[in-house]
C-alpha cells in the first residue's frame, strides 16, 4: 500500500432525533421476528387456545348447542375406557422406548467408538437414511412382513417352523414403532457417545475397574444425558404416533392419537373430548420437555 493514497471520504450522517433512533431499533426485530411470529401466533398459538376453549365445553360437537363451560371433558377422560386407552398409549411408548434403547445403544456405541473412523459418518448417514422415506410406506412394509400370509410366515413355513401371528396386535405396534424411531435414538446416542472422553475409560481401567465396571460406572453415567434425551425423544414421538398403531394395531390397539382422530374425522365427532385429549397430550409432552431441559444439562455425576 503506497503512502500517498487519498483518504476515504467520510460523510457524517446527521444525528437522527431520539425517537427516530428508537423506532429504528424496533425496525430490525419487527422485520425479522414479526412475520414468523405472526404466523406462529395465528396458526399455532390461537388454534391451541381455541382447542383449550373447546375442551372446556363438555361434549361439544359441531352443530350442537353449548351446554356451558366446565371440566366435563377432562373428567370424562377418567372413565376406565379412556384411562385404558391412555395407559395403552403410554405402554406402547414406553415399550418402544426401551426397545429402541436396547437396539440403538449397541449400534451407536459401535459406530461412535469402534467402527473405523473414516466410515463413521457414512455408517451414521446410512443408518438414518430410512428416516427419509415415507413413514406410511415403512409401516406398510411391516404389514407385508407380519401379515398371516406375509413374508415372515412364508419364510418360517419354508423352514418348517410354526408360523407367527403378529399383525393386528400389540407386538406389531412395538415392532413398527421401534423401527420408526430407532434412527432418532441412534442419532442422539451417537452424539453423546462421540463426546465421551476415552481417557476416562483408560483412567477407570487404570484404577482397577473391570470392563463391565468401567461401562456401568463411567460410560453409562457419562452418556446419561444423551440416553435421557434419546429416550424422551422416542417416547414423545411414539406417544403421539398415529400411523403405526392405526395400520398395524388392529381392533384392540386404540391409542390416544387415534381416539383424538376419531373425535374429529371419525364417527363420534365429540370435539370437546378430542380437544381435552389433545390438551392433555400437549401438556404431557411440554412438561416432559421442560423437565429434560431443566435437568438434562446437569453434570452427569449428579445422575449416578
Amino acid at each position: 500500500m503506497s503512502t500517498s493514497t487519498p483518504t476515504p471520504s467520510v460523510v457524517p450522517a446527521k444525528t437522527s432525533p431520539g425517537w427516530q433512533r428508537k423506532l429504528s431499533h424496533l425496525v430490525g426485530p419487527l422485520v425479522l421476528l414479526g412475520p414468523p411470529g405472526v404466523w406462529l401466533l395465528l396458526l399455532l398459538v390461537v388454534p391451541t387456545l381455541l382447542i383449550l376453549q373447546l375442551s372446556l365445553i363438555p361434549g361439544i360437537r359441531p352443530g350442537q348447542p353449548i351446554d356451558g363451560f366446565g371440566l366435563g371433558n377432562y373428567l370424562n377422560i377418567f372413565q376406565p375406557v379412556y384411562l385404558q386407552v391412555i395407559w395403552r398409549s403410554v405402554f406402547f411408548a414406553l415399550g418402544s422406548t426401551v426397545l429402541t434403547l436396547l437396539l440403538g445403544f449397541p449400534v451407536a456405541y459401535w459406530i461412535a467408538l469402534m467402527a473405523p473412523k473414516r466410515w463413521r459418518n457414512l455408517l451414521l448417514v446410512s443408518f438414518v437414511l430410512p428416516l427419509w422415506t415415507s413413514s406410511l410406506l415403512r409401516a406398510y412394509a411391516w404389514i407385508t412382513i407380519l401379515r398371516p400370509t406375509g413374508v415372515l410366515n412364508s419364510f418360517l413355513s419354508t423352514l418348517g417352523l410354526p408360523t407367527l401371528d403378529l399383525l393386528n396386535r400389540s407386538g406389531a405396534v412395538f415392532i413398527g414403532m421401534s423401527y420408526s424411531f430407532l434412527p432418532y435414538m441412534v442419532l442422539v446416542l451417537y452424539a453423546s457417545l462421540e463426546k465421551l472422553d476415552r481417557r476416562l475409560l483408560e483412567a477407570a481401567a487404570d484404577l482397577g475397574a473391570s470392563a463391565p465396571q468401567a461401562f456401568w460406572k463411567v460410560t453409562v453415567p457419562q452418556t446419561l444425558p444423551g440416553i435421557a434425551a434419546g429416550c424422551l425423544l422416542v417416547f414423545i414421538a411414539s406417544l403421539g404416533d398415529f400411523v403405526v398403531p392405526e395400520l398395524l394395531g388392529g381392533a384392540s390397539s386404540m391409542t390416544v392419537s387415534r381416539l383424538i382422530y376419531n373425535q374429529f374425522l371419525g364417527a363420534t365427532r365429540n370435539w370437546g373430548l378430542g380437544s381435552s385429549l389433545s390438551m392433555v397430550l400437549i401438556l404431557a409432552v411440554s412438561i416432559s420437555i421442560a423437565l429434560l431441559i431443566k435437568y438434562g444439562d446437569r453434570d452427569p455425576e449428579s445422575f449416578s
Binding site: 376453549q53 360437537r61 352443530g63 350442537q64 401379515r147 381392533a251 363420534t268 365427532r269
Partner: protein, 382 residues
C-alpha cells in the same frame, strides 16, 4: 378399494335441530367473546358462509366428493363428452369424515356430494343442502316410487338417490371350509377364529347386525337388548382382527382373514374380480341402505351439478354403472334395460323375500344413541 357407510333412515335428528340460536346465545354470554362465538357460529353454520369464498367456480369443472368407487373414468369421459364439463372426484371413507370436512370448510369446492340416507337427513337439518329445483331435473320419475319420496328426504326435495344395497359378509368358502349363512357361525366357531374376521367400522351396522341376529330390531332402543348384543360382541372380540370399512379386500382374498363384513357394492366388486370369493347376506336379513346425490349450499357450480344429476338420471347411463360398478340402481327404467344375467343376480338385487327380512337403519332416541356410542367406544378401545 371401496368405501361407504350407508343408512336407510334419518338418524340422530333430535340432537341436531336446535343448533344455531342456542349456540350463539350461549357463546355470546360466555367468556370467550368474538373468537369463540365466531367459532361456534361457524361450527354450526359453515355451509351458508362459505359459498361466497369458494374457489374453482369456473363453469368448466365440477368437483365431486364421493365414495371411492362411485365413478370411473368411462363415466367421467362420457360426461365430459356430452357436457364439456371436466369432473374432478375426491373421495371420503365415511359420512362422518365428509360431514366433518364440510363443516370445517373443506368442502367448499364440491358441487356434488354422495351422502348416505341418514346423512342426507342430518345435512338437511344442518341447512347444508340446496333444495332441488325439480324443473331442472329430467327423469326423476324413472326412480322407483320408494326413492321418489324416501323417508330420509321426503319428496326428494334435496337429494336424488344414486344407489342402494345391503350389508353382508365376504369370504372364501375354500378357506373357511364351510358355507356361511349368518352371524351365528361366529359364536359357534368363535374359539377357532382367532383374529380371523373383520367387521365394519360402523356402530349401527355392527350392533344392528348382532341385534338382528338375536331376533331384535336393527334399531333397538331397549337397553337390555343392546347390552346383550354388546356382550355378544365382547365375546366375539378375540375373533375380530380389525374394525375396517375398507381395506379388508386384500386380507380376505389372501386368506389373512377368513370373513369380512362388507357393503354389497364393495363385496360384489371383489367377487367379480376374484370368483373364489362369495358374498352372503345373512339369511335372517341385514340392513338396506341408499346413497344419494346432493348439492351443498356452498356449491360453486350448481349448474354443472344439475347436469351431473340429469346425466345420471338417464336410464342408459345408470344401467351401464350397474354392470361396471355393481351399483344396485334405484332407477326402474334403467333396471328394465339390464341384461337378464344382471337382473338375476340375487346378490345385487336380492329376492323380495330376503329384502323383506332386511331393515333400514332408523334414527334412535338420544339416550339410545349415547348408549350405542358408549358401547362402541368400549368395544373398539379395549
Amino acid at each position: 378399494m371401496n368405501t361407504r357407510r350407508p343408512r336407510f333412515y334419518p338418524g340422530r335428528s333430535p340432537r341436531i335441530a336446535n343448533t344455531r340460536r342456542g349456540f350463539l346465545q350461549l357463546s355470546a354470554a360466555a367468556l370467550s367473546g368474538a373468537v369463540l362465538s365466531n367459532c361456534a357460529r361457524n361450527l354450526a353454520d359453515v355451509s351458508s358462509e362459505e359459498s361466497t369464498s369458494s374457489a374453482a367456480a369456473d363453469g368448466g369443472t365440477l368437483n365431486v366428493y364421493s365414495w371411492a368407487n362411485y365413478s370411473d373414468q368411462e363415466l367421467l369421459d362420457s360426461f365430459q363428452a356430452k357436457t364439456g364439463i371436466e369432473v374432478v372426484v375426491d373421495t371420503y371413507d365415511s359420512n362422518e369424515t365428509m360431514l366433518a370436512k364440510m363443516q370445517a370448510g373443506g368442502g367448499s369446492a364440491y358441487s356434488i356430494i354422495y351422502p348416505s340416507d341418514y346423512m342426507v337427513t342430518q345435512m338437511i337439518e344442518l341447512d347444508m343442502l340446496t333444495p332441488l329445483d325439480k324443473s331442472r331435473l329430467v327423469g326423476l320419475e324413472n326412480l322407483r316410487s320408494q326413492w321418489q319420496d324416501p323417508v330420509y328426504d321426503p319428496g326428494s326435495a334435496h337429494s336424488v338417490a344414486a344407489t342402494w344395497g345391503t350389508t353382508g359378509f365376504v369370504y372364501n368358502p375354500d378357506n373357511l371350509g364351510t358355507t356361511l349363512t349368518g352371524w351365528d357361525y361366529f359364536w359357534e366357531n368363535g374359539g377357532s377364529l382367532n383374529r380371523q374376521i373383520t367387521l365394519l367400522n360402523d356402530v349401527r351396522e355392527v350392533m344392528g347386525g348382532v341385534l338382528h341376529s338375536l331376533g331384535y330390531s336393527y334399531n333397538s332402543e331397549d337397553p337390555a337388548e343392546l347390552e346383550e348384543a354388546y356382550n355378544r360382541l365382547v365375546e366375539l372380540k378375540p375373533a375380530i382382527a380389525n374394525f375396517i370399512t375398507n381395506g379388508w379386500e386384500d386380507q380376505v382374498s389372501s386368506g389373512d382373514v377368513l370373513v369380512s363384513m362388507a357393503y354389497s357394492v364393495d363385496a360384489l366388486s371383489l367377487v367379480e374380480e376374484n370368483p373364489n370369493m362369495e358374498y352372503v347376506i345373512p339369511e335372517t336379513g341385514s340392513s338396506l341402505w341408499t346413497d344419494a346425490m346432493v348439492i351443498p349450499k356452498s356449491a360453486p357450480n350448481p349448474d354443472a351439478a344439475y347436469e351431473w344429476l340429469n346425466f345420471l338420471l338417464v336410464p342408459e347411463n345408470a344401467a351401464s354403472l350397474v354392470g361396471r360398478l355393481k351399483f344396485a340402481t334405484p332407477n326402474e327404467v334403467a333396471y328394465d334395460q339390464l341384461s337378464d344375467e344382471l337382473k338375476a343376480d340375487t346378490k345385487l338385487f336380492p329376492p323380495q323375500d330376503l329384502l323383506d327380512r332386511c331393515e333400514g337403519i332408523a334414527p334412535v332416541s338420544e339416550e339410545a344413541t349415547e348408549l350405542y356410542d358408549q358401547y362402541w367406544t368400549q368395544l373398539t378401545s379395549t
